[in-house]
């Protein structure tokens, strides 16, 4: 929220290379980035520039090929799978473009899911958290529904509730409005803005300029590198030309 906030994420010279069929894809090459607690950061850039890759690495779903990643001051790039699972579970809240609710589980069970991966959380506490999160996104009246019985906007709100339930340090949202119509999209963005106002740290990928402006800070990615806004515009023009 303010520049005085503590540093939550610090990455330095981050690279990611995908090797497929003897083809090397440099998805990220030398990214520097810091996110402080309470900040609302938007990442934008053309399709294929590495936004999702960056977010996956931030969310510890993926490991970088090179570079440093400090989360809460701790290096996390070389933790094992179990440790990374634990951090993902406690520190990260994911919001996906396609909601990614589990079709076999009810709304309630979907939101409860991250909490079930925590040991020793009393069930009363769990229930309280689930209901709080659902109330926060105004979906508490739909606990027994299955995702297929909800509209896209409702599903995305449940997904936000699921991300909130674990009280994460940061919400990572990858094009959260990409599968929604503009009305529902705006409702979800408003929800994120409210959450930010209440103190949540958010890092969101979007290429919708309307929503980019909503963030406090904008990071432009081009071809796996962070670039300044003017530079991006110039590069875009060059590519089109």
């Amino acid at each position: 929220m303010t520049d005085l906030g503590q540093s939550l994420i610090e990455i330095e010279d981050l690279t990611k290379v995908f090797y497929t069929d003897e083809v090397e894809t440099h998805a990220l090459s030398g990214v520097h980035l810091g996110i402080r607690k309470g900040e609302y950061v938007a990442i934008s850039g053309p399709s294929g520039c590495g936004k999702s890759t960056l977010l996956s690495i931030l969310g510890l779903l993926d490991t970088p090929t090179g570079g440093k990643y400090l989360l809460n001051g701790e290096p996390v790039e070389s933790l094992d799978f179990a440790a990374r699972s634990r951090i993902r579970n406690r520190e990260i809240g994911f919001i996906f473009q396609s909601f990614n609710l589990i079709g076999d589980l009810t709304v309630y069970e979907n939101v409860e899911l991250p909490l079930t991966y925590r040991q020793r959380m009393p069930s009363a506490e769990r229930k309280k958290r689930v209901m709080e999160s659902l109330e926060r996104v105004s979906m508490a009246h739909r606990v027994r529904h299955y995702p297929s019985q909800l509209s896209g906007g409702q599903q995305q709100r449940v997904a936000v509730a699921r991300a909130l339930a674990g009280h994460p340090s940061i919400l990572l949202a990858d094009e959260p409005t990409g599968n929604l119509d503009s009305h529902n999209g705006e409702a979800v963005m408003e929800l994120l803005r409210d959450l930010h106002r209440e103190g949540a740290t958010i890092c969101m990928v979007t290429h919708d300029p309307r929503f980019v402006k909503q963030a406090e800070r904008e990071i432009h990615l081009f071809d796996g590198k962070v670039v300044a806004e003017e530079e991006l515009r110039k590069l875009m023009q060059e590519t089109q030309a």
Binding site: S52, S56, G59, L61, D62, F81, A82, S85, R86, R88, N89, R90, I92, F94, F96, S98, N100, I102, G103, D104, L113, P114, Y117, R118, S148, R162, G166
Partner: protein, 823 residues
């Protein structure tokens, strides 16, 4: 028809294209259908094959029975037989016979063959016509006019098919008989059921019948009059038996039992075969469930194809037909391979017969070829199988989901849920069926273990048993027989590697002879309550050779001669029953039902021997009376020689043959067997069933494991995305592994729970069997055994966990990035 041919061609192409699927499905079906073919070919050869006699459904076997003493199918007394024959109105004819072993001489080397002495009307009653010569004439019934008829195989093998054989003389037990006829091929003593000895020769001269109604020495058969039912005949025989009981006190307690000859022949095999038929049916059902599962998965992946077909105008029935043709092709391929597998497997089943080791006897010796009926059976099973496993998947796959399937992204939630439920239900059924099979096999294994733990009372290891029949005029004098065996046993015991040798009438588990006796303490028991015991005639070293322990007193010695005081050794069970709490040594008994009988001396008990399981592991200890052969040489028949060796007892055979020939070159050596073989005879069927059931249960377990593996694997592949989400939300590897394992375990536990119902049914079924059949199948094992249920369930659950472990590990290695990307 044209549509069908087209379907067929397309189906072939489809199956060839997905060769992995086809191979697995065909192999699965092969195992299921093959097991059925194997068992059915035996059922066909044993249970369904009519006896080779004219109008055989009217033939019955006539037994005497004494339920009071627990004897049910007992041989009949000659006097009773003659009364029945005269008085009955229900049979067109009755014939008696007794089984014998005969020394066939006149050709070298001498040979002991099985045969029967029969009533003159025996073959005409069975409706057998001679191949050559004629049948017996009524006047040949008397002993001094006795004639002989030989089997086709004896004619071929022993006489080389000599066309001039009829009319010659044949030498049996040193006596000559006119050979009057040759039977057609395939005729033997099948009417004896499991006691069939593969008789080669039949002699007449059964008259005069042995006197005394207490001597039960003859078999009897009869042909029902066409207008009389078995029940009516039984009623009349009951009346006659009651009359005889009243007239003759020694017949007290003896009734008559009529058994259809076909039932008689198959009664020993029927329960086992029906049990096995049930088992292979179960295996086939499991195989069907597996293939149905594969087809469901395949159907799901071919939804687009069906949608296109529907879009271009195919109706649902046409799609179902197409899929059923594919199923039929799979099933027929599996059936064709199953035929080969079955033909091979049925050969193993020959071991069901307890006598199979000594002779390839009786019903089971009929060739187990793949005849028309077996082929038809296999074909029908294959077609039925195709429908069983093919219909549900075809119905499911052909359900119209036109829109969804065509725009691939749309997921039709309810339809896939239905398919998933069907798949789960199939796996649950597989586990339930496998549990039932496993339980049956476990019960059999336990029964066998109990049988093996049964103390038999002697040590069968390293003992050889042979028969040395001394027949003919030179051995008419019993003193000559004593002399022969005294010399022979001395020579044998002098051989290197021999520990001891004996001659005996009566080898444990290889026949017994119940004789009446009275004790001096109770010399006039009520008629019908006269005690009886197995009467064993032995040489002194009998107890040492079989290692039957002597509990008290002494064993026989050479000085127990004809001139000395007549002596006996009794078994513990006899002593306990008739002299409880007293010292049996010095007690006296007489082997006769009448204490005043002057022909039999009083015997003084000089020793008590341990109990021996004379009638096999399934039977209780029966009282035994041992007497020295030197005092009763004329009772010594059959003449079994037992030799205990230090090494392999079979290695002694040439030396024994040499010693016999040195004493008398006309004496054959027959019925070679180790005591171990004889002891395993009664449990042979049980052991075969155990191995087969165990094998089928293992197959069922394997199929169930494959079934749950494929369902869980498929579920994992379908749930990759979900697993990605879960990983993103912080699930670690153990959580994902657990998720998949829980799925598998819950399916298997549902199956186990369902299986418990089935298993309870099976336990009920076993419990409801007639006692004799249950005893033969399960011995003393309780069918409803909770511990067994628990063990079998644990085995199934373990197998399920192991089968699910591979897909579970795969699930835990899902790359969340990739899983989430494709959505």
């Amino acid at each position: 028809m044209k549509g069908f041919v087209h379907d067929l061609r397309y189906a072939m192409r489809q199956l060839r294209r997905s060769s992995g699927f086809t191979a697995i499905a065909v192999l699965t079906l092969m195992s299921g259908i093959g097991a059925n073919t194997a068992i059915f070919s035996v059922v066909n050869a044993v249970l369904l094959k009519p006896l080779p006699y004219k109008d055989s459904s009217r033939l019955v076997v006539v037994w005497q029975q004494n339920p009071h003493r627990g004897w049910f199918e007992n041989e009949v007394s000659g006097a009773n037989f003659l009364d029945w024959q005269k008085q009955n109105h229900v049979f067109t004819g009755m014939a008696a016979f007794e089984s014998l072993f005969l020394n066939l001489t006149g050709h070298s080397p001498p040979q002991e063959i099985a045969g029967e002495r029969v009533s003159a009307n025996f073959f005409s009653l069975l409706g057998i016509k001679p191949l050559r010569g004629r049948l017996f004439l009524p006047e040949e019934e008397s002993q001094d006019r006795a004639a002989a008829i030989v089997s086709y195989s004896l004619w071929q093998q022993h006489y080389g098919g000599d066309p001039a054989l009829v009319g010659r003389q044949i030498f049996l037990n040193g006596k000559s008989y006119p050979l009057i006829g040759i039977l057609p091929p395939g005729i033997s003593d099948d009417y004896l059921g499991i006691e069939a000895q593969q008789s080669q020769v039949w002699i007449s001269g059964i008259e005069p019948f042995a006197e005394g109604r207490e001597f039960h020495e003859y078999h009897a058969i009869a042909r029902l009059r066409p207008d009389v039912t078995l029940t009516q005949a039984q009623a009349e025989m009951n009346t006659m038996a009651a009359r005889i009981e009243q007239q003759y006190p020694e017949s007290r307690g003896w009734g008559v039992a009529l058994v259809r000859m076909h039932d008689q022949v198959v009664e020993y095999f029927r329960p086992a075969l029906l049990l096995l038929l049930g088992a292979v049916g179960t295996v086939l059902l499991i195989a069907c469930a597996n293939v149905a599962n594969l087809l469901l998965v395949r159907g799901a992946s071919r939804r687009k194809e069906f949608a296109i077909r529907t879009a271009v105008g195919a109706c649902r029935w046409q799609i179902i037909r197409q899929l059923l043709v594919e199923s039929l092709l799979l099933s027929l391929a599996g059936g064709a391979m199953g035929l080969g597998f079955g033909a091979w497997g049925s050969q193993i089943l020959v071991r069901l017969s307890p006598t199979a080791q000594q002779t390839t006897a009786g019903a089971i010796s009929t060739p187990l070829g793949l005849n028309g009926l077996v082929l038809l059976f296999t074909f029908m099973v294959a077609v039925a199988t195709a429908i069983v496993f093919g219909l549900a998947p075809a119905m499911s796959a052909s359900k119209p989901h036109l829109n969804h399937a065509l725009n691939e992204s749309g997921r039709s939630f309810s339809a896939s849920l239905q398919r998933r439920n069907l798949r789960s239900a199939l796996v649950i059924c597989e586990f339930a069926l496998a549990l039932s099979l496993l339980l049956s096999a476990a019960l059999m294994i336990k029964a066998l273990a109990h049988l093996h733990r049964t103390a038999i009372g002697f040590n069968p290891n390293n003992v050889l048993s042979v028969k040395i029949p001394l027949e003919g005029s030179q051995y008419q004098d019993p003193g000559r027989q004593i002399e022969f065996f005294r010399q022979f046993l001395n020579r044998i015991e002098a051989l290197p590697g021999v520990e001891s040798a004996t001659v005996s009438r009566g080898v444990p588990m290889n026949g017994w002879a119940g004789w009446n006796f009275v004790t001096a303490d109770n010399s006039h028991p009520a008629a019908g309550d006269v005690p009886d015991a197995n009467y064993v005639v032995v040489a002194p070293h009998y107890f040492r050779t079989l290692q039957v322990p002597l509990r008290k007193g002494r064993i026989f010695t050479e000085s127990d001669s004809k001139a000395a005081e007549p002596v006996a050794i009794v078994s513990e069970s006899l002593a306990l029953r008739y002299w409880p709490g007293q010292d049996p040594i010095g007690k006296r008994l007489k082997v006769s039902s009448d204490a005043k009988d002057k022909t039999q001396p009083w015997l003084t008990v000089v020793g008590v021997a341990g109990n021996v399981r004379t009638q096999g592991q399934y039977a209780p200890f029966i009282p035994e009376i041992y007497v020295p052969y030197t005092q009763y040489p004329w009772v010594l028949s059959p003449r079994n020689v037992l030799v205990r060796s230090r090494g392999d007892p079979l290695a002694l055979v040439p030396a024994i043959q040499r010693e016999v020939a040195a004493l008398d070159k006309d004496v054959p050596v027959s019925a070679l067997a180790t005591m171990d073989e004889i002891v395993s005879g009664p449990v042979q069927q049980g052991r075969t069933i155990m191995w087969l059931l165990g094998g089928f249960a293992a197959l069922a377990l394997l199929l169930a494991a494959v079934g749950i593996y494929s369902v869980i694997s498929y579920a994992v592949s379908q749930r990759t995305h979900e697993i990605g989400v879960r990983i993103a939300l912080g699930a670690d590897r153990d959580a994902i592994t657990g998720l998949v394992l829980r799925h598998g375990i819950s399916l298997s536990l549902l199956g186990v729970a369902a299986g418990w119902l089935g298993a309870l049914g099976i336990a009920r079924l076993f419990a409801a069997l007639p006692f004799q059949i249950r005893w033969l199948l399960l011995f003393d094992v309780r069918p409803a055994d909770p511990l067994m249920f628990a063990c079998v369930s644990a085995v199934l659950a373990t197998v399920a966990v192991l089968a699910c472990f591979i897909p579970a590990r795969r699930a835990a290695r899902v790359d969340p990035i990739r899983a989430l990307r494709y959505e």
